[in-house]
Point group: D3
């Protein structure tokens, strides 16, 4: 059967502060500017989850996107939506919540649950003008 990549997009809204706890406050301000605001700021994040595999001849799907959506909502969105990325999210604990670090953490959470197809790429939009792609190690 042909191999394709299917993508589902999901949204979550969160607060964060870009901050490296191993640096001084002055260094953080210098490095991160307004993104280091100690009172937080936030974004409407958009996550694109792409999964690759052959078409299942029974369903005509690579995988059922409704099931993929439910999986991503349970494993990721429910932990991220209307949360503070620095304070509320167990799998981000101790991590500077840049888009890069967030998308790598999401990969680690999600990847073991995708089967028999495999996770191909996560794309995370922080605003309409910037996004990050991660394809695993």
């Amino acid at each position: 059967m042909p191999t394709l990549t299917v993508t589902r997009r999901l949204h979550f809204n969160a607060a964060h502060r870009v901050h490296n706890a191993t640096l001084s406050d002055a260094e953080n301000r210098e490095l991160f500017g307004k993104c280091n605001n100690p009172n937080w700021h936030g974004h409407n994040y958009l996550l694109e989850v792409s999964v690759t595999g052959p078409i299942d001849p029974k369903t005509g799907y690579v995988l059922d996107l409704a099931k993929l959506r439910d999986l991503v909502e349970r494993e990721l969105v429910s932990h991220l939506d209307h949360k503070n990325l620095n304070l509320d999210v167990p799998f981000m604990s101790g991590t500077n919540p840049t888009t890069e670090n967030l998308v790598v953490a999401c990969w680690k959470v999600l990847e073991p649950h995708i089967e028999p197809a495999r996770l191909r790429r996560l794309r995370l939009w922080e605003t309409d003008n910037n996004y990050v792609d991660y394809e695993g190690e």
Copy 2:
């Protein structure tokens, strides 16, 4: 000269918590659910500023949108972008930062600066799926 309405769109990213300080924590949780998260959440806000007036025959503009953009950035966006709407914004002090209360506060700040044209409408998008319109008293 014909009268038209011109609109400029601007973006800001902010954290907030929907919270009524005159109610108990339990009442706030009951009323606002996940929007009441004490650790905040956030949004990419999109503000549309609409101004009505006749075309100036010298410029062919109702007003110079670059000047309108600079005005809105100085009076509103610089106070809102990468801020906490509950803690950091003087003109929101003591106000529950719902989209409705935020757009009314923005109107009060901006309206005196729009002349000779007049402010016609502010539209504030909190996400791609909801927005609020205010046209003044």
Copy 3:
């Protein structure tokens, strides 16, 4: 309290055929062209529900948009999504399902449920390039 208009956007996917049952097949083909395909075609519809009212001083909301969303999903979207507008939708029975007739039917279903605020406008997008606005009688 200031009066504002708040809008929630919702999606549904449906099949339809533009067809006037009081006309002959030939007249229908002549009037409606490819939109009259007897085997149906379909759209991703986008509905914008706009409600006007004063801000409730307790909540800071005109109304709770999560409750509005639940109401519209129960009264409209659950009857329209993944349905055939000519065959499956009780409140469209006997009606030629143009975007115009559909938005008027949606108004009649939804309007009695909006209170104390009042329904101000329904905007229904059939494609990215056309939409219809209805504001009641």
Copy 4:
């Protein structure tokens, strides 16, 4: 029959220069800055044509949007698309091609052709961040 407003969106790409021929070059540079570049610049314009009227009980349409599209393409888009607004467009001759002046000129061309429904509003987007609305005299 209920009265509604239907809207069709159309695109055209054009070059222009914001320039008032009754002023000196220095005054034009001062007033219009980079928009006065004597070598032109350009935009992907998006025009939204809104027409109001009752639903025709025979068709279920306010008017046939395919016919409205053909009308706007013949009367406006064919004269504007891949053109220079200062040099190539008869109905803009002698006019400073700001978005405001352009939308008023489009109204004058289009309005006599809309019947029995009537032209309600033209919205012209110059970029994703600014647009102009004109509703006639």
Copy 5:
């Protein structure tokens, strides 16, 4: 000459029903839920056609996108737009019209017509929230 990938986006609106004719009705309902509605539903599909090749030094194009658009409209869109994917489309006959199966069928139709450049990828959006990519065998 440098090698690039150029992409043209095209739209079509169609009805379909996700259904595997080799399974029972009960199995189809179980597998596909509301997507199996026997009365059909539909979508506004968006197809992105990506073609790779060197820049032609005469034209400065990989290929003329107006010609690519005409080709895709003739070979694909004219057979899909305002059609029923289960009933009306010869190249989908006997195929369960999931987005995956549809994009593979489109590839088989289109690929022989692309030359001297070669078809690189088809991306098919079924809604704003999901799409499928196919890059051939």
Copy 6:
């Protein structure tokens, strides 16, 4: 550290004319049609700049997107925005300004400035319906 690709989107508005100076006017008209209008036309271009590299453990960034934005604005956007691509842009001098040739020229200008990460892809949208990708030699 994991390797990711980060993307920043930037806008510019420009006039151009597709024209091969080594061909006759008649050949140019035949090859390029309305895109060859001697009085120019124009577009709102959207440029996506994608850069690949490991996460810097100090910042949590592949690179600071605000610095990337400033770099692209200085090296590219300031030379392209509100300009004529045939007449005003030194790095396009003597080049037929198709989207393909423009994106290759942008790569040559930008690539030496990206370090220690490396430029991975430039995507240039000419309209909402077509874009070109270049990934270097």
